[in-house]
């Protein structure tokens, strides 16, 4: 990356603009990461001055779309942290299987790789037919990709390894059809998925779930925003429901930790009161 062209004060002005003009509130995001990404975009798109950048952002809604796409991190993979998925397989799904109907929320699902991973777990546990997977993200572009379920063929070797480490017994390639350098995941998996735009910063709870997954999203938020999102999750979980976070995220220091119990070593907590 080029050396930071924009100053902290510029970033603050941009984030305030976004909030004021479009209602996108990034002001409680961790600063260093968002600053790096904004600077990167400024360089890639060859703006000559901060004023030009700011003007474009304020008055060109199409550019706003690109901005949101570029500054939100959308990197993800299937069966990311395979041992986490093994824990879901072995400890969580058998419990969820006792419910007549299973509702799962993937908050900040990005391009959907983890949603498809979950659908594969449910299918192998013979639970997919009675499940609904709600997949939400702030970024409309990535949701469109998630909905299509088309991913690069080049990733499949890694995903297949992750799948096997997660306890998968099948031939991973039986879940997709390859064509040239892309694969399309089986449509029986996406049939039970509902994709929708949802902003964790500003939008409210929209259902009650038995399992919420929000992996590697909270790392981008500051402490206050993290705590607001934890409240949202608590309000959106049934009693005895599960909350799953990324490998470096924790409920331990949160305002809701008293009412949750960590399951084993994995980053999965159960709502107990």
């Amino acid at each position: 990356m080029e050396q930071g062209v924009l100053q902290d004060s510029d970033i603050e002005i941009l984030l305030n603009d976004l909030c004021e003009v479009y209602g996108y509130d990034f002001t409680d995001y961790s600063k260093a990461s968002i600053k790096r990404r904004i600077n990167r975009l400024f360089t890639i798109d060859r703006f000559l001055s901060f004023a030009e950048f700011r003007y474009r952002l304020r008055f060109d809604p199409d550019y706003l779309k690109r901005f949101v796409e570029q500054i939100t991190v959308t990197v993800t993979e299937m069966f990311r942290d395979p041992l986490f998925y093994r824990a879901l397989r072995e400890h969580i799904l058998p419990v969820l299987g006792t419910y007549p109907f299973i509702r799962i929320w993937h908050a900040g699902c990005s391009t959907g790789e983890e949603v498809y991973s979950m659908a594969i777990l449910l299918k192998e546990a013979n639970l997919l037919h009675k499940s609904l997977l709600y997949a939400t993200d702030i970024n409309a572009e990535v949701l469109e990709k998630a909905r299509k379920g088309i991913f690069p063929l080049s990733q499949m070797k890694q995903y297949s390894e992750n799948y096997i480490l997660s306890g998968g017994k099948k031939d991973f390639s039986s879940y997709y059809t390859a064509s040239y350098d892309k694969v399309k995941l089986d449509e029986s998996l996406s049939k039970k998925m509902i994709f929708s735009s949802h902003n964790l910063v500003s939008d409210h709870s929209f259902n009650e779930f038995q399992l919420i997954l929000c992996r590697n999203v909270l790392i981008y938020f500051d402490k206050d925003l993290q705590s607001r999102v934890f409240d949202l999750f608590e309000n959106s979980l049934e009693n005895l429901g599960y909350l799953a976070l990324g490998s470096k995220e924790t409920l331990r220091f949160s305002n809701i930790s008293q009412r949750f119990k960590q399951i084993d070593k994995e980053k999965i907590w159960r709502k107990i009161a």
């Binding site: 990356m1 260093a32 990461s33 990197v75």
Partner: protein, 201 residues
């Protein structure tokens, strides 16, 4: 070392390394003084599976506290923070740490550039970047930013590096302040700490 005194107070030292750098760090750790006057961050490229072992391995070699960096953690002097595998580690302006899972840079996550750049941003001329052995070009951009904001840049002498490519890239990209043999690095860091004590009084 050309100069006897660095002549300033240091706020943060970041060490970055890739292939061939683990031994350099392991050699260095036993010689670091207890009670360093600043935090030390170590960013190493490595396989994910090696993660928790690395912190334990380092902790066994030094009296300083060694821990894996956690998100939103506040930097404290005398502690060695290890960048977690598969995340970038960023230094915030309020001297806390944050992590991020954005694209790999130079095929690497954690990326040395990311930590160097954000450390420079947060600490200005009180930032020090030390780049060790490695087989790719990570770290050079970050050192440039540290230098441009007035911090101190250090590169392992390529002659003493198991894989000289990474330090060579940096030497080709900018005029670094110090080129040190691998056995000189611990002494240099101790010196920075002594000077920090002297200049912050």
């Amino acid at each position: 070392m050309e100069k006897n005194s660095i002549g300033r107070s240091v706020g943060l030292v970041v060490i970055g390394g890739s292939a061939g750098s683990l031994d350099v760090v392991l050699q260095m750790l036993p010689f670091l003084n207890g009670g360093l006057r600043f935090p030390l961050i170590i960013v190493l490229h490595r396989k994910i599976s090696f993660d928790s072992a690395l912190t334990d391995l380092f902790a066994g070699k030094t009296a300083l506290i060694v821990k894996e960096a956690e998100e939103k953690e506040e930097l404290k002097p005398g502690i060695i923070y290890i960048a977690p595998a598969d995340y970038h580690l960023l230094v915030e302006a309020n001297h806390t740490l944050s992590i991020d899972y954005s694209e790999k840079i130079h095929y690497s996550r954690p990326s040395i550039d990311v930590t160097f750049e954000t450390a420079a941003d947060a600490f200005g001329k009180a930032a020090v970047g030390i780049l060790l052995s490695g087989a790719n070009a990570d770290g050079s951009e970050g050192l440039k930013v540290i230098r441009s904001l007035g911090g101190i840049t250090v590169v392992q002498n390529p002659v003493t590096a198991e894989i000289p490519y990474m330090p060579q890239q940096a030497l080709g990209a900018l005029a670094v302040d110090y080129v040190l043999d691998s056995h000189q690095i611990a002494g240099f860091i101790n010196k920075l700490s002594d000077d920090t004590a002297a200049y912050s009084e």
